[in-house]
């Protein structure tokens, strides 16, 4: 028998599959697993957060958010902060909210905005005080932030921020890198600030109920959004605020009650508007 040499066929020991396809498949499933894990942890923190007593939350965050304003401004703003705290207290009394303690801080910032920070802290910008005309409108904004606190939204946000931060930390794995630390801070802050639309709607509802209980009507509930929406205020840097929120028109519609149009609005005291710094 004669020997005839033959070349072995290709593809026995190797696969013809494109390496990029494999990469996409493997990386995709890895990322999906990681995201699933993050999602699961976030859901469980959202669920578990309500078992943290308010007193513990206050204890942890009480001294964290006291100096929003520049140190020199604290003395000047004392009167205004006192007024805001009194307003919140009267809303609390009207709404019979005894479980929480709130503290309002004024933030020197032109953009009209308000925030709910963990530990019962509420931040109100000087821009917001300048924008609003009536106490009812201001009470609505404060009531909205109270609503966030009642739903434990701020501490949920912190929980999410920490979880996301830990994952970013672990996945990117570089603790000493300043950029990463900045990113973690940003992410924590972003998740703190960005409540979901449902959370916003629920907080709106609580705010509306609170001012109804306090004033006996809901006129002024939509003042903030109407002002924000009016053309002369469009230039104000409120884009960030509006992005994560339900549309302003939608919120005006849900808050405005034409039955209350003839009701009286309580004007804001003059000292509240800080012309010199706004």
């Amino acid at each position: 028998m004669k020997y005839t040499p033959k070349q072995a066929p290709e593809g026995i020991n190797t696969s013809t599959e494109h390496p990029l396809k494999e990469l996409v498949l493997l990386l995709g499933s890895t990322l999906a697993i990681i995201l699933g894990l993050i999602y699961f942890v976030i859901i469980s923190t959202d669920y578990l957060v309500k078992y943290i007593p308010v007193s513990v939350e206050n204890e942890i965050f009480n001294n964290k958010f006291t100096n929003f304003s520049a140190p020199s401004a604290i003395q000047e703003l004392q009167k205004q902060e006192e007024y805001l705290n009194d307003l919140v207290e009267s809303l609390q009394v009207a709404g019979e909210i005894e479980s929480h303690k709130f503290k309002v801080h004024i933030i020197v910032n032109q953009a009209p905005n308000a925030f709910a920070y963990p530990g019962g802290n509420i931040g109100v910008t000087t821009g917001l005080l300048k924008l609003l005309d009536s106490e009812n409108g201001l009470a609505m904004v404060l009531g909205h932030e109270i609503g966030h606190h009642l739903a434990r939204d701020p501490i949920k946000g912190i929980g999410r921020g920490v979880i996301i931060g830990i994952f970013v930390y672990t996945v990117l794995g570089i603790g000493s890198d300043e950029w990463i630390q900045g990113l973690i801070g940003e992410l924590t802050m972003a998740s703190l600030m960005s409540f979901s639309r449902d959370q916003e709607r629920a907080a709106d509802q609580i705010g509306k109920n609170l001012i109804f209980q306090h004033y006996g009507h809901t006129r002024g509930a939509s003042e903030f959004f109407e002002k924000i929406n009016s053309t002369e205020n469009k230039f104000i840097d409120s884009i960030n605020y509006l992005n994560s929120h339900p549309s302003t028109e939608e919120r005006i519609l849900s808050l405005k009650n034409s039955m209350d149009d003839n009701k009286e609005l309580k004007p804001l005291p003059d000292f509240l508007v800080l012309d010199s710094r706004s």
Partner: protein, 157 residues
């Protein structure tokens, strides 16, 4: 950030050059295998059908080939899920065939008619440091006994 971008850069460089180099290498392997087809390489310890007197000479071919970062990353992802590590399969296939080709070409140079008792061995280089993020490489040695007709062998020596 810097570390991340370096990693991505290594990945891209690894993919572009690794993929291109591998394709080129496979083409050259197939071409040379065809050219050297007339000399059989077998694992038999003896080769009966030779009619002439022959001398046996040791021939060997040796290849060291390194993985790139893309292959390494792909393999480490594969480690999570299990299955065929295709990125290493092609690498080792290339190394094996190249080692045999180098052995064969040295045998042909010596005028051999056949290479018997062929063995292939492999060793990994920098195995210990592979865990520290270094790129490891693998060595493949093919060796066998080239059977050279006495007349040709005498001429050479």
């Amino acid at each position: 950030m810097i570390e991340l971008s370096i990693f991505l850069l290594l990945l891209v460089v690894g993919y572009i050059f690794g993929h291109w180099g591998e394709k080129k290498h496979f083409r050259s392997i197939i071409k040379r295998e065809l050219e050297m087809l007339h000399v059989p390489v077998v694992t038999l310890k003896s080769y009966p059908p030779l009619t002439r007197d022959v001398d046996g000479v040791l021939v060997s071919g040796n290849v060291v080939v390194s993985i790139d970062h893309f292959k390494k990353f792909l393999a480490s992802l594969r480690n999570l899920f299990g299955g065929r590590v295709t990125s290493y399969e092609t690498l080792l296939d290339r190394a094996r065939r190249e080692a045999i080709l180098r052995m064969k070409s040295s045998a042909i140079e010596k005028g051999a008619e056949v290479v018997i008792n062929t063995r292939i061995e492999t060793a990994s280089i920098s195995k210990n440091s592979a865990g520290n993020g270094n790129v490891g490489s693998v060595e493949v040695v093919a060796y066998g006994t080239a059977l050279i007709p006495k007349s040709i062998y005498k001429e050479q020596n």
